[in-house]
Each structure stands twice: as C-alpha cells, then as structure tokens.
Symmetry: C2
Subunit: 550 residues, 2 copies
C-alpha cells in the first residue's frame, strides 16, 4: 500500500507517524511544499517576538529524523500540482530540481491548511505568519534601528499574536480589524477586555477599520489614518486551501472547506483530508470551519486509524480556543451568544468574575467567565473566559463537562481539586453552577447588561448594593445606593417599582435580590454586576465611536 500525505505539518504528520506505528509495511510518502516539515507552527509568532530564542526549537523533526524513526519518505519543496482520482495518481513538482514527477497511490491524505485572504500592497512587503519561511522573511524585515513600524491586518488569533510579538520586539505596531471587536469567538463584553490589554501594552488597535488603498508605500485606512509601515503581516481570515481538492472533483462543504465524514474521508473514498483546510462536523452536525492545531493533529490520527482498518471516528468539534494576549488569557468554546442570536436559538447567559484562587493567598487574579445555557434542558452550549491565571483550566473543565453531558447546574457538584494556590473551596466552576442553578430554579431572576436600558425605560429602579467607596469609583447612572449590609433596615427607601439590584460582580446582588424578593419586592439581579455592565457598555461605545468616525 502506498499512501501519499500532502502537507507535512500538524495533521499530515500526525497521520503519517500514526500510520507507520499501525502499519510497518506501508509505503508512506510525505510531500511538503515549503522547506520544512513538522515545525511548530503555533510557536512561529513567539520566535518573531523573541520569547522562543532559537530558531532550531521550531523545527521538531527533519526529513532525515522522520526517515530513521518512522521510515517516512519525506520530500520537502515538493508541490502536488494535481490529483487524478481515476488513475490514482498525483502530479508533483520537485522545486529543488524542477522535475515533474508522477506518483501512483492507493490512498491520499490531504493536509494543506488554510491561507489568509490575499492582500496586495504596492511598495510594502506583505507576509503571512504561517510557515518558517514567513518567519524568516518577517525577521529579516524588522526595523532594528528603532525606526519604522509594522501593520498587522486581521484581529483573529494569529493577528493578535503577531501584534503582541512585534511590540515585544520593540516595533511600533498598528493592528487593524474589520469587525467591531477582535477575536470573533468572544462576545463583545469579553473581547473589550482583550482590546484594553492590547492598547495598554502599546498596540495601536483600530477596530471596524479596513485598508482602503495603498499607494507608493502609504496605507490609507478607512478611518482616515495614513501609515507608512515597514512591513504588513497579513492575518486576515483563514481560507481553506482547496485548489487541489476542487480540481480533483472533491466535494466542498458549506463554508468552502473540503467536505469529510467523521472518519476524515472525502467524497472520494481513497482520499482523506484533515486540518484547517477541512470542514469539521459541528455540535449540531453542521459544517463548520475550526482552524485549530489540536483538531488537525487529532483528525490526522483518525485518518491513519481508518486507513489502517480501524473503526475510529471524530467527535463533533466544540471549537475550544485559547490565546495569550500579553498578561491575559482569552479562551472560549462552543456557541457564543452572538452565534446563538444569529441562529435564533433560545439560550440563557451567566456572567461571573471569580478569583483564580483563594483571595487570601497571594497571586489570585480575577477573571471574567461567561456561560451559555440551553433553557430547555440546562445543557452547556458554550463558554468564554478572559483573565489571568486559571483561565485555561476553567475552559478545559467546561469543555469536558459539555462533552460529558454535565448540565450547567451540575457544575455546582463537580469535585475539583482545591488548595488555596489552585482554586477556591467553591471553585469558579462550582460558582457558575450555583448561579446557573439559581437562575434555572427561579431562585434569583437575572437581567443582562444589555437589557437594563429597556427595563429602566419601563420604570424599573436600579439599586446599587455596593459600598459607598465602590460606588464613588463608578456606578450605573441613576442608581439608588443602599449597601447590602444596610438593605434590611432601609427597605422603605425603595420606590414602589420593579427593582434591579447590582453589586460589583453579581454575588452580593444575588443575596440582595433574595432578601428583597422575600420581603415582597419584585427584584432581579444584574448578571455579572457592574463589571459586566461596564465592559458591555465600553464595547458598545467603542463600536459606536468607530461607526461615527467612518
């Protein structure tokens, strides 16, 4: 059996090495267009920034080491030009010799990844940040004399990482992003925390902004700004590389990636496809593009198992993500609120702001957590988290809970590891469960930050139950201040109207709402408290401002 793997990084290389472990006799040829295989593509931005010091650390394997260990026939600078499924033949250009080769196959694995949308900028070098070659080119262009700046186009994961690392290298960097907020997997009131962090660390961030024109080395942006960057990093979008697949007549999915089944088989049963170039099967069985290294690796392994005759299959893709942005970690999984709204799907939301570990132990950091819940069955639909320590842990826990069918209320009962350095006796995840359960059972009704204006218009009173000092540092306009600890004694100060109470993060608000309801007041708690409300407002404000400026 001859297997040709086209693409020698994450998914392709996982397929090739796993297949060898399962089948010592197969002939396995790996074709890679660039000069390197099996490199650390998720590490590339950090070599630009200098956090990864040695270029050699990015190169995990060479064709020689893969040959010795796995008996793989790895051919770099080899480009597959065409696949003939009838003849079972791949046409290959050897860019080192210029020779055109034809290779027969029994099975093909396509692992060609995705590319940024093309960007043409006359007079300015443009590079993506996807290969070792890209990094070498960017590195060579970086202004070493403190003179000259960089422009990053696209505020997705790669764009945000590129901007951070250019700034780390001392290069003044502008990040332009077409949408109103960076990191599309996050809802606005969490994305705005990431945007604040980017700006606080010196990134010149321009959202709702595009390149309008480029002339003689000058970039004109849609917001009127003009820049003369030394280089442009193009991180705008991730379009599946499907030229080869389309020419071979393979079926594409709803979003333009190669369509595969749960075993990574394409519409041609002898051709498999994995990685960023492929449509994943989403949580509702729908086609979805999730460009994540974890899935690429896992699906490469699945393809190898299936080729070796095993009954392996993929689980639906949650779309779990995490990215470090300077001192913050931003992570997400499953459905965002925005996606649920667009899909017209009913949902409940819970916001919390727990400390990463016991507040009395040094180093605790506050995070913002958001949970999307199916009101029909209390199932977890998605989650988002932005903060410092412990964010990745909580998103992982939620990913497993969602996979294991644990309900939102069921999070309350999870027995997580507790010592004061690691969590809280009631872990942030348990707390999410408590809030979800209180909402589900009607113990405390909540109000979302964006629902508040309409409620106020309808005559609801807003009561701030924080301390006077907290209120002095910022409060919701028009709120009546009664600290929680005085509330029982000052019930007569409340107007004869529905009441929305709030505190800093939602916890004291819950206690206040419970107290008021039992005293006959129609009271609801502002979900996530002042923190969520102010982040939501800031996000709206930023979006409105950029709209105005255009």
């Amino acid at each position: 059996m001859r297997v040709i793997v086209i693409g020698g990084v994450a998914g392709g290389m996982s397929a090739a090495t796993r297949l060898r472990r399962l089948d010592e006799s197969a002939e396995i040829i790996v074709l890679e267009q660039s000069r390197y295989v099996s490199y650390a593509n998720c590490g590339l931005p950090y070599f630009v920034g200098g956090e990864i010091e040695h270029r050699a650390e990015l190169l995990l394997h060479t064709p020689e080491s893969l040959g010795a260990r796995f008996r793989l026939d790895v051919r770099t600078q080899h480009e597959a030009l065409a696949i003939d499924p009838e003849a079972r033949r791949v046409e290959v250009m050897d860019h080192r010799s210029g020779a055109l080769v034809e290779l027969d196959y029994d099975v093909v694995v396509l692992a060609l990844g995705a590319a940024a949308h093309p960007l043409d900028a006359p007079g300015i070098p443009v590079h993506t940040l996807r290969t070792v070659d890209d990094v070498d080119a960017i590195d060579a262009l970086l202004p070493r004399d403190g003179d000259g700046s960089a422009l990053v186009v696209g505020g997705g994961y790669i764009g945000v990482e590129a901007a951070e690392n250019l700034v780390r290298r001392g290069v003044p960097t502008t990040l332009v992003h077409r949408g109103p907020h960076v990191l599309a997997a996050l809802d606005p009131e969490l994305a705005v925390l990431v945007e604040d962090e980017l700006r606080a660390n010196g990134v010149e961030l321009r959202t709702s902004t595009e390149i309008q024109s480029v002339e003689e080395g000058e970039v004109r942006l849609s917001d009127g700004a003009r820049l003369r960057p030394r280089l442009i990093v193009n991180a705008s979008g991730a379009s599946p590389n499907t030229g080869l697949a389309r020419a071979a007549g393979l079926r594409l999915g709803a979003n333009g990636g190669v369509a595969v089944d749960a075993q990574n088989r394409t519409s041609d049963s002898r051709i498999y496809a994995v990685g960023d170039g492929v449509e994943k099967i989403g949580l509702d069985g729908e086609d979805t593009l999730v460009a994540m290294a974890g899935l690429a690796n896992r699906h490469g392994r699945t393809a190898a198992d299936v080729i070796a005759g095993r009954a392996e299959h993929n689980s639906p893709a949650l779309g779990t993500t995490v990215v470090r942005v300077f001192g913050l970690t931003a992570a997400s999984l499953g459905w965002s609120e925005r996606r649920l709204q667009r899909a017209g799907r009913p949902y409940r939301v819970v916001h919390t702001h727990p400390m990463s570990h016991a507040g009395y132990f040094p180093g605790a950091e506050r995070m913002a957590l958001k949970l999307m819940i199916d009101p029909a069955d209390d199932a977890i639909l998605g989650a988002q988290a932005v903060g410092g320590a412990g964010v990745d842990k909580r998103i992982d826990v939620l990913a497993v809970a969602m996979t294991g069918g644990i309900t939102a209320s069921g999070l309350a009962r999870l027995e997580l590891a507790y010592a004061p350095q690691y969590g809280q006796a009631k872990d942030p995840i348990n707390q999410l469960g408590y809030v979800a359960d209180n909402v589900r059972t009607g113990t405390t009704a909540t109000v979302q930050w964006h629902e508040l204006p309409a409620l106020q218009l309808n005559g609801a009173a807003v009561v701030d139950v924080r301390s006077d000092a907290e209120r002095a540092a910022g409060a919701i306009p028009g709120a009546l201040g009664i600290p929680l600890d005085e509330l029982r004694e000052r019930l007569d100060e409340l107007p004869d109207a529905p009441v929305v109470v709030y505190c800093q993060v939602g916890q004291r608000g819950h206690t206040a709402a419970r107290l008021l309801v039992q005293h006959g007041v129609d009271a609801r708690n502002l979900d996530g408290g002042y923190r969520t409300w102010s982040a939501g407002r800031a996000a709206e404000h930023a979006a409105a401002e950029t709209m105005e400026a255009r």
Copy 2:
C-alpha cells in the same frame, strides 16, 4: 423555625449563609467554640510560613459582618455540650461568661470537623494546625534566634504543609511519618517524587517512623534518632469529632464519622451533619472519610437547601485532592492502585510523563501522570499527578471526565484548549487517552515497573531504545541498548525471547513495541518508561531501607 449551626467555619458557615438566602425569616444561630468564625483554615499553614503576611487576611468574616449581611446570630467561644433530640434542645457553654444556656431548636446542623490523634509529649508544647488559635500559638513558639527546631508528626496534607512552612520560616524541621510514604492518596512511585522535593528543600523526612517516647523534652524516634524540638506540630490523622453526635445517639458510619444520607441528614431527621466529621458516600456507595474543604462547603450548602425544602442531594465523593509541596504540585482523585489492590478489584494502569505545555515554549515542566482504569468497561477509576505547572488542571479535567462518564480511551477525543503556553496540540490528557486506547485495543501491551523482575526471571530480554547519552545517565541493569532510530536495522541482535522495550517516558517504547510486534517479535512496552521504573525502584528501596534500620 430556629436552626442551630454548631461549628462556624467551612461547612457550617456555608449552611448558615445559604439558608439565609433561601429563608429570610428563619432564626439562625451559629455556635463556634473558638474565638473566630469563617476563617481561612486552608490558609493557616501559609500564615505560619509567612506567605500570607497579614493575619487579618485569614479572617474572612466577623460575627458582626455576618450579622449585618445575613442576619446570623453568631456566638463565638460557645461550646455545644449536649444535644437532646427528644426535647430538641442544645446545652451550650458560653466560655466568655461561664454561663450555661439551653437553646430549643427545630433543626441542628453539626459541622464539628476532625481532630488529630492525641499526642502527649511531656516538656514540649504540642499544637495542631487547625484553628487561628493554633496558628497564634505556633507563631509565638517559633524560634526567632535561629536556635531550636520543630518536629511535625504525620505526613498527610497538613503535615506536609506544616513542614514546608516551618522550613520557609527558617526553622530546621523534622517530619516523621508512620507509613512508608507521605500523602497516602498517592501510590509509592508518585509519593517518592514529593519526598524528594521535601528533602531537596531541607525537610528532614523520616518515613516508616514513629515517636517511641518523650522524656524531659527529648523525643526518641523508632529509628533511634533523638531530637529536642522547640515545638511539635501534631498532624497525625484526622479523627472525626463525634462526641456530641454519639452522646445524642446519632448513628456513626463504618469509619467512625457521623453517618448521613445524600442530603446530609443524620439518623435523627432534624439533625444534619457536614464536613470532616462526617462519612461521605464514596464512588461505590460505601462510607468514606474525605476531609476536604471543598466537600465541606458544598455539603453545607446541600444541607441548607434540604432544610429549606429543596430536593438537593450530594454526588458520590471522588476524593479529589491537591497540595503544593515547595515547587511541586501533587494531586489525586478516586481510587489509588494500592486501594484497588486491597479491594481485590481488577484494574489497568497507565503512566505518562508529559510536558505541561509545548516543549519548544519556555517554561514547560514535566509531570508524572497515572491513570487507573476499569478493564471491564474502560471507565476511569482514579488518577494521580505530580509535577509543576498544569498538574491541577489535568486532575480537574480527569475529575470531570470521570464524573461525566468519559472512558479512559475517550480522553483521546477531548477537545481541550491549546496554545503553546497552555498545553500541547495533543494535550497530556489526550495522550493518556491514546495510551489507554492502545492498551485496551491490544495495539501495544504494556508491563508495569513492578512486574519487570518476574518477567526477567522468566527469560524476557529488556531492550533500551533510548540514545547512548540517555543510557549512560542511568539504565535498567542487564538491558540491551539499541536506539529506536537504529532498531529496524538491528533486529538480528535481539535474542530469541520475549522482549520488554523501554525509553525515558514510554513514547518511543510504544513506537518500538509496534515496530517489533509487526516484525514478529513478542514485545511489550515498559509503562511510563525509565522514569516510572526508577521512581518505583526508589520507593521500594526507601521502604526497604527504613525497615532495615528499625
């Protein structure tokens, strides 16, 4: 309704505050024997060590603040002397005034915790490390002149934390532990890593050792050593405080704790009990003592829900634990291998040694992971982890997976958050799943470290597939060295016998075993590689040495 909560820390205070949120009208009296309530008991050792600098940080609430916020009637230095279930009356001693008070009740919640086994040491002050009063006493006794040492008795969580913090304060500290290894929840080959860390940081650790006698300030240990410590911290065991419950005729469980149902109701339907003094319901429905703050808090909340008329109940206790030991984190959940052996229950074990995050990104640390699996249905039975960064995350993920019924092989498919700072494209948890799946499907048969001697006696050859440099730094005696990358070419050097291959952590060994099996060799892989083998051997050796010395 009058509810009397006896015990004003973790479980008791969770019950009291939750009950108030659910029932504004109940009269809630909290009786606490010590001078403080709602203090950070898990933080106490770190105030001794100085990491928590200000004593005030330990005191989360005062009777006054709890009165203002939750209308709780909190009475410190009040000791419940007796409960009369017939008359529904508690007899209380007010130690401030010396007055004896009788309080009628509708419901009682017992939250009296556990105590160390009594330890009498004539001429030396002995303190436990359970209350703020304990910490004040220890702090006052600490030798500030660099002269004088401390003795900690008991190598459980509190003992290990006490020893670390005394050393942090500059006090020469001996830790004696009766069992062969510290932290009973860990199996020996993981516990030995913790013991190395304790010794490397200056703790004089003596396992399999007891106090034989104490005379005129001199402690004689069972290993012959004599010490004259300035103070003794008694962290030997955790016996449920059940005097009050027994006198009231409440039923006790199999391990001497108060017996409760899944709603924390004792054998008297008007008396609830929570926390370390109570038997938890274990994974198989058995009685079990798990003295963990997380469960105490959660079960306090359960009791409040039930008292308020809700149908809440507890899940079986996994026994999830975590502790920091200097630069290490040690964590565990569920069944240990030792417990499975004792119970005569069939199991499979997997050891791995993954990096906390991508090896090419700075700061990655290696951890030891161990998974116990039910061979009948591939269910996760338990897990242990010792290492640096990311240990707590992996144990939490495994706790949720176990709760959600995800199988060991199913770990391979979990979609965890990946970026190079947080994990690996194939996360350590996925890797565990891959190994478990390879064992389950017979893809690679494994051998445990303690099974190797018998196999060698029966003629099995051991093949070391690591590099020459690795082998030179330590190898299994009698092993034949053939680096993995040369194995295909050197098959003829293998003896005509069953072969056990090994590498450093088990990964190359797996590739080698696959290769050999397909070439007709009867090959198995040493689970966890040289690292697990050498840790297991060190653990055996240490246990044997202390036995010899006695």
